[in-house]
């Protein structure tokens, strides 16, 4: 039977409605009838006065294997010396490249969480970056995906903690300039430490380059009245010169 145009439109509308209902429905209750906390909304980095218990532990340097750590320290020192000379070494940001997972969780721009029953999206305001975390699906293997900025993330609620597993991050998408192998695995544990302060405990495992798992925790505060703004690199006047130094293009408009 050939569906009429109206029938097709109605079916398409119903399919979209069903998808949105599934995506946006509140997360299902667990076996004990408890619903997970609702993280939907805007968030920004939270930095309370020193000693405040909502501050996470201080950030640790990457526990790289000795040879890699030595190289990392040399690069850090070179970057600091270049900054002191007023000739900063160009980075991905110079070219308006988004920073990917997990750097996009470090701020300084706010992000938005949109939490549903089957999926949770995190949109970082800077560069309009969105990562998607799927619930109720097994993690894929590297054979199933291509490496990228955000990888492939699956999540599950363990009580009040959202545990997210991410693989598939591209080689040069680096957190704190630490090298990693294609097999890097990132486990994040999101939990509310107060009703309006969220922690993301990020643990990076990569035995090929790290001596031991590397954990960094970021804290965020809720921004109840803030709607995420768009961010498009509409006119990037920064560039890397022939020596890899970040510069600013200065020209008088015609």
């Amino acid at each position: 039977m050939r569906a009429t145009k109206a029938t097709r439109r109605a079916l398409a509308g119903a399919a979209i409605a069903a998808f949105l209902t599934g995506m946006l429905a509140p997360a299902a209750a667990d076996a004990q009838g408890r619903s997970p906390p609702d993280l939907t909304g805007s968030w920004e980095r939270h930095r309370a006065p020193p000693g405040d218990p909502t501050n996470p532990p201080p950030e640790a340097s990457p526990p790289l294997k000795p040879a890699l750590l030595a190289e990392w320290q040399v690069r850090r020192a070179a970057a600091q010396a270049a900054d002191a000379r007023g000739e900063p070494i160009a980075t991905g940001y110079t070219h308006c490249l988004p920073d990917g997972v997990p750097s996009m969780m470090s701020g300084p721009f706010p992000f938005e969480i949109l939490q549903g029953a089957t999926q949770l999206n995190i949109t970082q305001e800077a560069y309009n970056q969105t990562r998607r975390i799927y619930f109720g699906r097994p993690q894929v293997t590297l054979d199933d995906i291509e490496l990228g900025f955000y990888g492939h993330s699956v999540g599950e609620w363990q009580g009040d903690t959202l545990v997210v597993d991410t693989i598939g991050i591209k080689d040069y998408i680096r957190f704190r300039d630490a090298p990693h192998s294609p097999d890097m695995r990132i486990t994040e544990r999101f939990r509310l430490v107060t009703p309006d302060v969220l922690w993301d405990e990020i643990t990076i495992e990569d035995p090929e380059v790290l001596e031991k798992p590397w954990t960094v925790t970021f804290a965020y505060r809720r921004m109840p009245d803030y709607s995420i703004l768009e961010y498009v690199c509409e006119d990037n006047r920064e560039y890397a010169d022939e020596n890899g130094i970040g510069r600013l293009r200065v020209t008088k408009p015609e």
């Binding site: 600091q80 002191a84 940001y93 470090s106 800077a126 703004l229 006047r237 510069r247 020209t251």
Partner: protein, 135 residues
């Protein structure tokens, strides 16, 4: 500025850099040891990312500068700090306090802007106090 002062400024910058080392944007290309003040006419006020820009035809300022490109922060940061794209209009007479580019080109980072309605607008530059104000 003497070599001595420049060296002290470089050392001070080295001390603040570790805090800002992972920032989106390096402010190291701008002089942290002095500011210049330019009075002039706005040729254009560009409300864009990754940075806003003010193109200024200079009437009063250091000798030899007739046009200057003024970089602002990301417009998202400006908006969160209360700025609007309508705060500055083409043709406005403004006074800008600027951390100039270290390489001597006619560009710099906006630290303060006096607009015709009398307001002094301050952009949300991270670690803005690390830029030393000079007459």
């Amino acid at each position: 500025m003497s070599q001595y002062l420049r060296r002290i400024a470089a050392v001070l910058l080295l001390l603040v850099v570790p805090l800002a080392a992972w920032a989106h944007h390096s402010f190291a290309i701008f002089d942290h040891s002095r500011t210049i003040t330019l009075k002039g006419t706005v040729l254009s006020f560009q409300w864009t990312n990754p940075h806003g820009y003010l193109e200024l035809d200079v009437a009063e300022g250091p000798e030899g500068i007739d046009h200057f490109t003024v970089e602002l922060t990301s417009i998202n940061m400006l908006r969160r700090a209360g700025w609007k794209s309508s705060d500055v209009h083409d043709g406005d007479e403004v006074t800008a306090v600027i951390a100039p580019l270290l390489n001597g080109e006619h560009g710099g980072l906006l630290l303060e802007l006096k607009v015709p309605d009398g307001r002094t607008l301050v952009p949300p530059v991270p670690a803005i106090t690390s830029f030393k104000r000079t007459p």
